[in-house]
């Protein structure tokens, strides 16, 4: 404990990070017994119980929160203060595009003229939202160069899965049944190989070349009449534009394979280049990245999938249609892969993305990518003297630095990420992509001021100095958070996933094992 206090006295105090360090008390631990009337809705009559026969009635009691509304507000607002968020902190998390989420998006999506729409209402009563779907699709086609979009997928990975289904349906429709392999570069997002494997494809991973791009020779070796599809993102996860993309698409198409674009990195490209023009046959867009819908602590997002003309008929049902000024939903598509989600996708997220695009328009959207690329290059240049940058030259919207030189002090990329938290900055993505040792993947987005960017560089330089002067301080960081270095091994070895499981464990063990720092 002494060592800890000493560390806290160093830089990185509470005022930097704006975080409380009060202990984590579960809402269940605030319960008070006794019947409570919520008063949210009228009470049922005393006769109502008779409507449930004993053979069907629930017998098992539940451990639920039993507190007043006032305590609920306090509990959850205290929890909210134990979070970093875009609204409160700089969040340069690579590949996640943690840009500012405009408030107007939320206001429109929370309006009763939208929230009160039932998905099975008659079509003529939902013309407004269908029109927005239609227009959103037009805008997405405009920025990507694709011919038709399905708005169904609920997330990027869900979109990838849809892409894999379409690839399979396409090849099967040509009676080309041998195509059961999907190629991914070793720098790809983890969801790419997972989505391909989930749908039964064999995953072939190819190494990158020394420039950090797809290795054409390796790709040539990997592609064959067994290849269904190549999945890649451009710019890739090193933030580098795949400048051989036109050669790559030719290689793939000549062999009869498809190209899938992971749209996680679309924030680099608005008004600069379009995946459709690069030769991609399918694409998903993470609306929660480029198109400013909030991440919500891990969803909900949306991952619309766009395709070229030849693949249109395989898109999931329903598609949005327009006849004259009438909008509709068409689920009568015989070649479709089918339905991938109930109803029509994450409509509230689609609406937010639409609001964003209409608000910015052509010029605003173009400026988004220009500023995102400019900010990333500014950071990359400024950090060259502090960290190793394995792949030089200009980057697109993000870049990958390496803290390999600090290994000699025993300091890792993970330590740097944790120490940044002390300074009130969210960690970059660490240890990804896998091809860079001690990787720190930085994506500032276009919504941070120059002062914020400058401060980030200054803090990184400070942390690099600390690595040599006081590596222990880094290894124990963060210092002023509710917790520091949770024991993940213990969490996985004997998982406690519910309050009931926790109570069960307590019965068998000393209470203090898991709740020290909390008085009952």
């Amino acid at each position: 404990m002494m060592e800890d206090k000493a560390a806290v006295r160093k830089e990185g105090k509470r005022e930097w990070c704006g975080m409380t360090d009060e202990p984590n008390i579960l809402i269940f631990e605030k319960n008070r017994s006794g019947k409570r009337t919520t008063g949210y809705v009228p009470s049922p009559s005393s006769e109502a119980k008779r409507l449930i026969p004993d053979s069907l009635a629930r017998k098992k009691d539940a451990i639920f929160p039993e507190v007043s509304e006032r305590e609920i507000v306090q509990h959850f607002l205290r929890l909210s203060q134990k979070n970093f968020s875009v609204d409160t902190h700089f969040y340069p998390l690579g590949s996640c595009t943690m840009k500012y989420n405009p408030k107007i998006n939320e206001e429109i999506a929370n309006h009763p003229s939208f929230t009160g729409l039932h998905p099975y209402q008659p079509e003529e009563s939902v013309q407004g939202i269908l029109r927005i779907f239609w227009e959103l699709e037009e805008w997405l086609k405009g920025v990507t160069g694709m011919d038709r979009f399905s708005l169904q997928p609920a997330a990027g990975a869900h979109g990838e899965l849809v892409g894999m289904m379409i690839a399979r349906a396409y090849h099967d429709s040509r009676r080309d049944f041998a195509r059961r392999q999907v190629i991914v570069p070793d720098s790809s997002h983890g969801t790419n190989p997972a989505s391909a494997a989930f749908y039964g494809f064999e995953v072939i991973t190819i190494p990158s070349d020394p420039r950090g791009r797809v290795n054409l020779a390796e790709l040539a070796k990997a592609v064959s009449e067994k290849t269904a599809c190549l999945m890649m993102t451009n710019p890739n996860t090193l933030g580098l534009f795949e400048d051989d993309i036109l050669k790559i698409q030719k290689m793939m198409h000549e062999k009869g394979a498809l190209l899938y674009y992971d749209g996680a990195n679309m924030n680099a490209l608005l008004g600069i280049a379009r995946p459709g023009d690069m030769g991609f046959d399918m694409i998903h867009l993470n609306l929660h990245k480029t198109f400013s819908t909030p991440h919500g602590g891990g969803g909900p997002g949306a991952g619309p999938v766009g395709v070229k003309k030849a693949l249109e008929k395989f898109l999931p049902v329903p598609l949005v249609t327009r006849k004259g000024d009438r909008y509709g939903l068409d689920d009568d598509l015989p070649d479709s892969i089918g339905r991938v989600k109930a109803f029509y996708g994450n409509a509230g997220i689609l609406l937010r993305a639409y609001v964003y695009m209409r608000r910015l328009g052509k010029e605003g959207l173009e400026q988004v990518s220009r500023d995102a690329v400019l900010s990333a290059n500014y950071l990359k240049k400024n950090l060259q003297s502090a960290l190793e940058i394995p792949h030089g030259g200009f980057c697109m919207h993000e870049f990958v630095a390496s803290s390999e030189p600090l290994k000699r002090f025993g300091v890792t990329a993970g330590n740097i990420g944790k120490r940044l938290l002390d300074y009130g900055i969210h960690a970059p993505t660490v240890y990804f992509p896998l091809i860079v040792k001690e990787a720190l993947m930085v994506e500032p987005t276009e919504t941070e001021s120059k002062e914020t960017l400058d401060r980030f560089c200054e803090v990184i330089r400070k942390i690099v100095r600390e690595s040599e002067a006081d590596p222990e301080c880094l290894k124990n960081a963060p210092h002023c958070f509710p917790v520091s270095h949770p024991d993940e091994v213990k969490a996985a070895r004997e998982p406690l996933l519910t309050y009931r499981a926790f109570l069960g464990r307590q019965d068998r063990r000393d209470r203090s094992d898991l709740v020290s720092g909390i008085s009952f």
Binding site: P53, P65, S85, G296, K341, V355, G364, S516
Partner: protein, 446 residues
């Protein structure tokens, strides 16, 4: 206009610091053939103009607030206390990322842990994940998980499971060696046990049913369970989660998994999304569940801490060897559900559920008394029931719609054998006056 704080002077300074003459230098790697000369899209709108434009579009919608609607069928209009949206709208929750940095995400992590706890309680099972995309995708992944776990290739899915859930499961399984066969329903609208018994062969790894089922019927699953256990298949139960507080929960029926839609617990109708799938399972399946799981542990100082756990199942660690490809899911919706359930409390939740049963039963009785209508599947229900019209349904629905009434969900499209049948849903929000309006509308000859 955009949301960038950079000024033109900043941009110039930054370019000089980088050592670039112009922005185009930075993107010199993009082949000239691909360079786009600007987007072919309209210009932006001021916030004021945009609001007016959207008002004009969205006001052409009619909502559950303007209709007297008896639509449900998987999307339910329950009352949401004000406190729920107030908390769920906090920027600290809304604009955070997936809690990979545990120290800076204890708020989100603890909220998900509490959500997992209440969902496990409600479903009567031992563990629940941090959420799935929606009920349909949770259901589909549940079926897949059961087949992969048992190493068998056939799932029997009740025809009384939501049609769209069955459709999504069929899509998910299409590319695999797995097959689905549907279990028909009896004259009572319940699981056909005779059929189930015949079809429970050694290749059946999963039996999936809904309780309450799509027709609103609450069934006794005791005999079904005995058959399923006898065949060592896994049992998946879906259904309206609010009903689990007063009727036997999936866990009490002996289910190994409960996968379905938690939208009725605090989320708006939102034209079908974002919703949130619940995914609960027995302890034995814990390490195979897809999606995020938050666990309780201690930190290096011995303080209680929450972390994402069992990540060896997940794509960002295991890539092609992951148990599912799911990444982002519906964390904010899970938080919303958690706040809703906390606000209700156990007794409060049971009261809301009872109110649904009471009102649905009352309306069913009134409709049953009308000469032109009958109730084909009698018996116990939660908050929905099927009505058969002796008159052609389409003109009747249209007539009612003109009066501002949505009488329910026409079943023929998903169940061609149920011509002129419709599903009526009654939540606690329906007033006596609204229910009277429906019965009067149905009874009226004009």
């Amino acid at each position: 206009m955009n949301y960038s704080p950079l000024t033109d002077a900043d941009r110039q300074d930054m370019l000089s610091a980088i050592g670039a003459k112009s922005f185009d230098d930075l993107i010199a790697n993009v082949p000239a053939a691909l360079r786009e000369r600007g987007l072919n899209l309209p210009s932006g709108l001021s916030e004021f103009e945009l609001r007016g434009y959207l008002d004009s579009i969205l006001s052409s919608n009619k909502t559950s607030g303007t209709f007297n609607s008896f639509l449900g069928a998987g999307s339910y209009d329950h009352y949401i206390p004000a406190v729920v949206s107030q908390i769920a709208g906090r920027g600290e929750f809304v604009t955070a990322y997936t809690p990979y940095q545990a120290e800076a995400s204890q708020g989100t992590l603890q909220a998900i842990f509490e959500y997992q706890s209440v969902m496990a309680e409600l479903t009567g099972l031992e563990v629940a994940n941090g959420s799935h995309y929606d009920g349909a995708t949770a259901f589909a992944e549940g079926v897949l998980l059961a087949l992969r776990t048992t190493g068998r290739n056939k799932a029997l899915v009740a025809r009384t499971v939501h049609p769209e859930y069955r459709a999504v499961a069929a899509t998910y399984l299409a590319g695999t060696d797995h097959r689905i066969e549907e279990i028909p329903y009896t004259q009572n609208g319940c699981l056909d046990l005779k059929f189930l018994k015949e079809k429970l062969t050694p290749e059946v790894g999963c039996v999936a049913a809904s309780n309450p089922n799509f027709f609103g019927r609450v069934e006794d699953l005791t005999d079904a369970l005995a058959l399923i256990r006898g065949n060592q298949s896994l049992f998946l139960v879906t259904g309206h989660p609010l009903s689990f507080s007063v009727f036997r929960s999936p866990g009490e029926w002996g289910a190994d998994m409960a996968c379905g839609e938690a939208q009725p617990l605090g989320l708006g109708l939102n034209f079908g999304g974002p919703y949130v799938g619940y995914f609960a399972a027995s302890q034995a399946l814990m390490r195979k569940i897809p999606g995020r799981l938050v666990g309780l542990t201690t930190d290096r100082r011995g303080k209680r801490a929450f972390v994402l756990t069992l990540q060896a199942r997940e794509q960002h660690i295991r890539r092609e060897k992951a148990s599912s490809n799911i990444c982002s899911n519906q964390a904010l919706c899970a938080l919303t559900v958690c706040v809703y359930l906390a606000a209700m409390g156990w007794d409060g939740l049971r009261e809301v559920a009872m109110l649904n049963v009471e009102k649905a039963r009352a309306l069913r009785e009134r409709i049953a008394a009308l000469p032109e209508f009958e109730i084909p599947f009698g018996g116990d229900i939660f908050n929905e029931f099927v009505v058969r019209s002796r008159k052609p349904l389409k003109p009747l629905m249209e007539k009612l719609r003109e009066k501002g009434i949505l009488a329910g969900y026409a079943l023929e499209k998903s169940y061609p054998e149920l011509k002129d049948h419709f599903l009526v849903t009654v939540t606690e929000k329906k007033t006596d006056a609204q229910m009277n309006e429906l019965t009067e509308g149905l009874g009226s000859r004009r």
